[in-house]
């Protein structure tokens, strides 16, 4: 009971502080900007009666997916990790951790609370984007296939967000301050893809790529079929989940090792 209340408490306050720090707000507005701007462009090129019927729906579905997915995928890959990179190192830098570590809070609850808080922030940001910009397309341009649209968010964007944000929070938990946390995040977002290859190649090594090619290119493929060969989304999600578990175990062992030193 106490453990649960601690985890929820940390997550709740973490979420609240992230909004107050404006980072999440800026990312949400940014994502909305990237997805809403094309609406205006497409709208101008549209001669109202040229595209109707099933063909038109398919055409718009492809467009809406391509634009949304490319923008949101890129944000989840390259921007979102930075927002949450110093979730734990920041406590050390500010000096709050001195107090946190003299309460009965266990390391695992602390890690869980911080991760959950970051997830909560990311998911809120996603939901705001999905609904606002989906509604704008539907109303301003034309209806599209909702089942494809929601599948992309639920089985594409959501797992990608949870895996990347969770990994970053857990991995940076061993770092001493915000500056090193940002450097760690640069390594995760920039160096890792360079090392393992930016595009997917269908081998297990691509699971390490934070762009999650198995998700990113798979859903982009639904819009234009000439994309690289990648692992399936299922394998990508499974691989990401295993990495999350490994990172959690590593972070927990590290916290236990550091306890009292």
């Amino acid at each position: 009971m106490i453990v649960l209340s601690q985890i929820v408490g940390i997550a709740f306050y973490e979420f609240r502080m992230h909004w107050r720090r404006r980072g999440l707000l800026v990312v949400t507005l940014g994502m909305l900007g990237v997805t809403l701007l094309p609406i205006m462009l497409v709208r101008n090129e549209l001669s109202s009666d040229s595209l109707l019927g099933a063909e038109g729906v398919q055409y718009f579905t492809q467009n809406v997916i391509r634009i949304h997915w490319a923008a949101v995928g890129a944000v989840l890959f390259a921007v979102m990790p930075f927002i949450f990179a110093d979730a734990i190192p920041r406590d050390r830098q500010i000096g709050v951790s001195e107090v946190l570590h003299t309460t009965p809070l266990r390391p695992l609850s602390y890690l869980a609370g911080k991760t959950l808080g970051a997830w909560l922030g990311t998911v809120t940001c996603l939901i705001l984007t999905v609904i606002t910009s989906g509604a704008a397309w539907w109303i301003v341009i034309a209806p599209f296939d909702l089942s494809v649209y929601s599948a992309i968010w639920i089985s594409g964007a959501l797992p990608m967000a949870l895996i990347n944000v969770g990994l970053v929070v857990l991995i940076t938990s061993v770092l001493p301050n915000s500056r090193t946390a940002v450097l760690g995040c640069v390594a995760f977002v920039v160096l890792l893809p360079i090392l393992v290859g930016v595009e997917g190649n269908g081998t297990l090594i691509e699971l390490l790529n934070p762009l999650r090619p198995g998700l990113f290119f798979y859903y982009l493929q639904q819009a234009s079929p000439s994309q690289p060969q990648t692992l399936s989304p299922e394998v990508t999600i499974l691989g990401g989940t295993l990495q999350l578990i490994a990172a959690a175990v590593g972070a927990w062992l590290w916290a236990r090792f550091r306890d009292g030193r």
Partner: protein, 300 residues
């Protein structure tokens, strides 16, 4: 648990701490602390914070034994058990700047294991009143003054009525009025739990502690009641009036007062006959200075 451990809430034997860089911050300390208010004094770098951080379970000792309420601080489980009934105020407390004072207290209350939001609300309100922050409780902490942050830090340490309260320089940065108030609050707390406080303000100790330790270079130089420490300096404190020149040769000047026809010094040590010194009654500060003076002479 033996009777001995029950009466001695904190038992420290041959405790040493060496930092990674090789600094020996604590050097084979023996100390027993019971209930009530216990003062830790000593010059900068004496090892007060190090000792308190070990007792709070933040740091492991390098050698020796440390037990708090029967729990061994070498074990992770022992440290965890101590944390269940501990209030701690670090020397440099950081507070999330984007939270309000009330939210910060609520956050710490959750971590301390108070699950009922009603109970948290009650405790936060009452503690905010105690440290007189009710008026600014809903303002962001980044807008607080240094003393306000300090008082918020004291409030968080007192959440969930701890059995052991460790507070590192609680009065630093507080105005005189607040310091006096805080002393009363802490004395009240000390009736119900063990309070260990470190300070550079000797007055805080003389007014509220029944027991104290004077630390110097990682060792305990003196351990006893404030009146015993005062007694150490009896016959060593003098008043000397000169036309302006400072009396030196081995004397420590405690205070000076500008007079119309010269300067009156209060000194600790053994003055020479030509000074025409007048013996005066020692204070706790004199006792502190006398002990340190003797320790420095012994080192040289």
């Amino acid at each position: 648990m033996t009777d001995n451990q029950q009466t001695n809430r904190i038992t420290i034997r041959q405790l040493s701490k060496t930092y990674p860089g090789g600094v020996r911050a604590l050097n084979q300390i023996d100390l027993e602390i019971n209930g009530g208010m216990f003062g830790l004094i000593g010059p900068n770098g004496a090892g007060k914070t190090t000792l308190m951080r070990i007792l709070a379970g933040l740091m492991r000792p390098s050698q020796g034994e440390a037990r708090v309420m029967g729990h061994d601080l070498h074990d992770s489980s022992g440290r965890q058990a101590v944390k269940a009934s501990l209030g701690y105020l670090p020397q440099d407390l950081g507070i999330y700047p984007n939270l309000t004072g009330r939210e910060f207290l609520d956050y710490i209350a959750i971590l301390k294991g108070i699950t009922s939001s009603l109970e948290r609300r009650r405790q936060c309100d009452s503690l905010l009143e105690t440290v007189r922050l009710t008026e600014v409780a809903d303002r962001k902490v980044k807008g607080y003054s240094g003393g306000m942050k300090r008082r918020l830090g004291i409030a968080q340490a007192m959440l969930d009525t701890p059995q052991l309260l460790i507070i590192d320089e609680p009065t630093s940065g507080l105005d005189p009025e607040e310091r006096v108030r805080l002393r009363t609050v802490l004395s009240e707390m000390a009736k119900r739990c063990t309070v260990i406080l470190s300070t550079h303000i000797i007055e805080d100790i003389s007014q509220s502690c029944t027991d104290l330790a004077l630390m110097y270079k990682g060792q305990i130089l003196f351990r006893g009641s404030p009146s015993t420490l005062i007694g150490q300096a009896r016959g060593k404190v003098w008043q000397i009036t000169t036309s302006g020149e400072s009396p030196n040769n081995g004397l420590s000047v405690v205070s000076m007062l500008q007079l119309e026809n010269g300067v009156r010094y209060r000194v600790v040590g053994t003055p020479e006959p030509h000074h025409e010194a007048v013996l005066v009654e020692p204070s706790l500060e004199d006792g502190y200075i006398w002990m340190l003076q003797q320790a420095r002479i012994a080192v040289h």
